[in-house]
Each structure stands twice: as C-alpha cells, then as structure tokens.
C-alpha cells in the first residue's frame, strides 16, 4: 500500500487521484503516471485539502470504494471551498456502478467517468485524462490572463484617481497664487489702483470663482466616473471568476450529503439516465431553511483584550470564532481553511489590515470573503483605500454589540 504512495508524491501535482484504497488502484496509477509525471495519489482527507489548496491541480480523479463515497468526498471538498478554481474532475468506478457514474456526469457532478474495475481500455483513460488536462490548462491560462489584465486596469484606474486628485490640488494652488498676486497688484497712481480694484471686483474675481467651481465639479465628476468604472471592473472580474469555476463544484457543494448516500446507494445497473437520481438540491421545509447556521468567523486584531471581546460577542451568538493577532497568521490560516467572514483591524504590527486584505484577495477561495474593518474614525482616507479591495462593512472601535451583530447580519451570515 505504501509503495504507491511513495511513487506518486509530486509536490505540485497537475493531476491528483483521490481514493480510500491505494492498493486497489495499482493499474490506474500506472496508466496515469505513464501519461503525466506531475501526479499524486492521496488517500488522507487532510492531505487532500492541503494539496488542493496549495497546488490547485488541473485534474482531480476520484476513485473511492463506491460512487456515493466519491460524490460525498467531492461535495465535502467543494463545501470546504478548496475547489473554487478552474479544474476538471473524473470519476472512476466499478463496472457494476457504471449506470450511476453515467448519471452523475449527466447531472454535471463529474465531467467524465471511467470504469477501472475491470479495466479493459487503458487508452480510453489516457484519452480522458489528455482531454481534461487540455481543457483545464486552457481555462487556467484564461484565468491567469484575466487576473493580470484586470489587475492592470485596476492599478491604472487607481493611478488616474490619484492623478485627478493631484491635478485638482495643483490647479487650486495656482488659482490661489493668482488671487494673492492680484491682491498685491497696485497701479502707478490712485486712479490706476482704483481701476485695477474695479476690474478685480467686477471681472477677475468672479471669473476665478467660476473657474474654481467648474474645476472642482469637473474633477469630482471625473473621479466619480473613475470610481464607478473601478467598481464595474471589480464586479466583472468577480463574475468571470465565478464563471471560471466549474459547474461540477457548484453542483457538488449544493448536494446534501445525507441525500447523496441514500440516493446513490441503491444502484440499478439497468436504469436509464432519465431515471431520477436524487442529487439535485430540493427546497427544504421552511423550518429547515431558517435553521441556524454556525458561521465560521476569523477575528484579526493585535490587541488581545478587544480581540477577546469581539470573539465573545460572536461566540455568544453561536458562531464558530477563531482569533489571531497578526495579518500574517490570518493569511496562513486562510490558505488552509475556509471562513465565512473576517473581522480585521487596520493597524497591526508587521502587516496592516490593508495589505493583509490585499494578500487575502489573492487566495483562491477568499476572493469574495466578506471583511469587516475594525478601526477608528480618524483614518478615513486609509479606509477608503482599503474599501477599494472590497470591504463588507466598517466598525468604529469600540462600537456596540448591536452594531457588530448588525454588520454580521449585513454580510448574510446568520447565527
């Protein structure tokens, strides 16, 4: 058993085989490794999570002891948020479960399936793998180009907003200087001075006032448009990110695990695929819909007293809270686990809230995680800059229990 594990321990695999019994899959691993060397077999759930988060393999092959266990595993991983990136998934199943495997693919839970027991057509597996790798590489390249492209547009928009502000400041200073020069200007005699004063009062000052007002309006309008553009770009990027994640993981994350077991556990080899495989999410009874959800919340705050206070308020409401004292620790934890919401301080040693958020937004499953800023009223400019990275709300310290819970509610995270 250990033999295969040792053979396929690629650190950043492009293909992973998730299974519960490595020994059973000797033939399969040989076929896959003959096709691609960047391949790893995983049978431990923690390792699966870790490798998926770190390496984001292009193709995920699942071969648990039954199709229902494979669906359960994929669904669990999707719910953990470790599959939120473009990838292809392939189900391996026994011949007796081929009907279920086929129906799972028709229901868009898996992209393709292959009968490995008995394995008659190893070239067929190689073909499936080749096509999956090809499609996945293309999707991944598109994602990279998109992220780079939108990142560049965003940087350029930020620069334009800063430039507009700078231009406004410079122009205002020029007008101010002009007014001062005018105030100091005197004529050669009283008549000339009086004439200059009259000119100033009747024509130049109103003109300068008008110029100043038009300038302010134009710059404000320009900045507003640039900011709107910035929001549109961010929204479009988020939408495209959402689209690039395969339907399979969306489907899988919606599957209720208990229903999967009952629905898939009664295989009928002869069934046609139209037969109802109950894997689609069904509306739950109203009471169940309202059932409390324990949100997983991270509190990032360097002051232990305030950190503990916020954590206590959230825990008392039934949330699952983990607190950390630095941005760096937060990033490390977010790479490993999925959270529903983050409370974050602005000023922290080593890495402040703004830069921590910037890093968090680059973690695959954290691009849209709601972040609530904890800060004081004094840092409005910094908060504005921070908000451009996507803040769900902002709380002025120390705040009140009511405001804190309201902010959580606003993020659609209910206790």
């Amino acid at each position: 058993m250990a033999r295969k594990e040792v053979e396929h321990v690629e650190r950043h695999p492009k293909v992973v085989l998730l299974c519960d019994d490595v020994e059973e899959l000797g033939g399969v691993t040989d076929v896959i490794s003959s096709q691609i060397t960047a391949f790893r077999t995983l049978s431990n759930y923690d390792s699966m999570q870790e490798v998926l988060l770190e390496a984001a393999p292009l193709v995920i092959i699942i071969a648990m002891s039954s199709v229902s266990r494979s669906v359960e595993l994929y669904s669990k991983l999707a719910k953990q948020g470790v599959l939120d990136y473009p990838h292809e998934n392939i189900l391996l199943c026994e011949n007796k479960e081929s009907g279920i495997g086929f129906r799972c693919c028709m229901k868009s839970i898996f992209r393709d399936y292959f009968i490995y027991k008995p394995m008659y057509e190893n070239y067929r597996l190689r073909m499936i793998l080749h096509n999956a790798l090809f499609r996945s590489k293309e999707a991944s390249e598109v994602t990279n180009i998109r992220e780079e492209h939108f990142g560049r547009i965003d940087d350029e928009l930020k620069q334009l907003i800063d430039d507009a502000a700078q231009y406004h400041k410079t122009a205002e200073q020029t007008l101010k200087d002009a007014r001062e020069n005018l105030d100091q200007t005197e004529g050669l005699n009283e008549v000339q001075t009086a004439l200059i004063q009259q000119l100033k009062k009747q024509h130049i000052t109103p003109l300068l006032d008008k110029l100043e007002s038009q300038l302010a309006d134009s710059v404000n309008e320009l900045t507003k448009r640039l900011k709107n553009k910035q929001i549109s770009v961010a929204e479009l990027s988020a939408l495209l990110t959402e689209r690039s994640i395969p339907n399979t993981s969306h489907h899988a994350s919606q599957i209720k695990e208990a229903r999967v077991v009952t629905a898939v556990k009664q295989p009928s080899y002869d069934d046609s695929y139209e037969d109802h495989l109950d894997l689609e999410p069904k509306p739950e009874p109203e009471i169940e819909e309202r059932k409390p959800k324990n949100a997983k919340i991270m509190v990032v705050e360097d002051n232990e007293i305030y950190r503990e206070m916020i954590s206590k308020i959230l825990r008392d409401e039934g949330h699952n809270v983990e607190s950390v004292s630095s941005g760096l620790t937060a990033i490390k934890m977010l790479r490993k686990q999925k959270y529903d919401l983050i409370f974050m301080d602005l000023f922290m040693p080593e890495l402040d809230g703004y830069n921590t958020t910037k890093n968090i937004r680059n973690i695959p499953n954290c691009k849209s995680i709601p972040i609530i800023a904890l800060t004081s009223n004094k840092n409005k400019d910094l908060i504005r800059k921070w908000a451009s990275l996507g803040l769900a709300a902002y709380i002025a310290k120390p705040s009140t229990k009511q405001s804190i819970l309201k902010a959580v509610e606003k993020c659609n995270v209910h206790a």
Binding site: N303, I305, M309, I313, F347, S376, P398
Partner: protein, 118 residues
C-alpha cells in the same frame, strides 16, 4: 467614541462595556483587570521608548493600548493615548513627556475607579 474633547470624557465610562458585553459583571471585571495589567506593561514600554527617543515605537504602543482603553471605557486614557500618538508622530519630545505623565495619572484613576466598583 469621540475622544477629542477632554472635558466630556470620563475616567471609566461604564456604559461602553455594557453596550459591548451586556451586564455580565464578572466578565466586565475580568476585562478591566486585564486592561490594568496591559496598561502597566505598555506604560513601562512607552517610558523606555521615550528614554531612547524611539518615536515610532511610542506611536505604535500608544495606538495598541488605545484600542483596549476605548473598549473598556477608559475615555481619558484613550484621549491621552491619542495625544501621545500625535505628539510622537511630530517627534515632539516635550509633548510626549507631558502626555506620558498625564497617561500615568489617568491609568491610576482607572485603577481607583475599578477598585471602587468591585
């Protein structure tokens, strides 16, 4: 919490913690004790930074303590911590000294207020 006007600020505004944590007295007392420990340790650090004229460190430590001062309702402490932050940003040694002394006195005030309530 507006801590810009000292005249309106209390040594220990009980309402702040009531609004944050509710009326769990033992919890409130526990946080107050934690603050007093934290304040003592921070004040010593600030004094050390002041002697070595490490203004950036003074600012950071003052900001750190200000968070918990605000959270337990030690409004006057929070005021002087804000003043100390501003003075250290301006590298104003004389002002820093004055604010550190005021802060020390305010922390003693919080200690007395806490003792009176327990």
């Amino acid at each position: 919490m507006d801590i810009s006007n000292l005249d309106n600020l209390q040594v220990l505004n009980e309402q702040v913690m009531l609004e944050l944590l509710g009326d769990d007295t033992s919890e409130i007392n526990s946080f107050r004790q934690q603050f007093l420990h934290q304040a003592k340790s921070s004040l010593q650090k600030i004094a050390g930074f002041y002697r070595e004229q490490q203004f950036k460190q003074i600012k950071d430590e003052a900001h750190y303590l200000k968070t918990s001062a605000k959270a337990i309702g030690a409004e006057r402490c929070a005021y002087y911590l804000q003043q100390l932050e501003d003075a250290s940003l301006e590298l104003d040694k004389a002002q820093c000294k004055s604010h550190i002394q005021s802060l020390s006195s305010e922390i003693k005030g919080v200690f007395r207020a806490c003792s009176a309530q327990t």
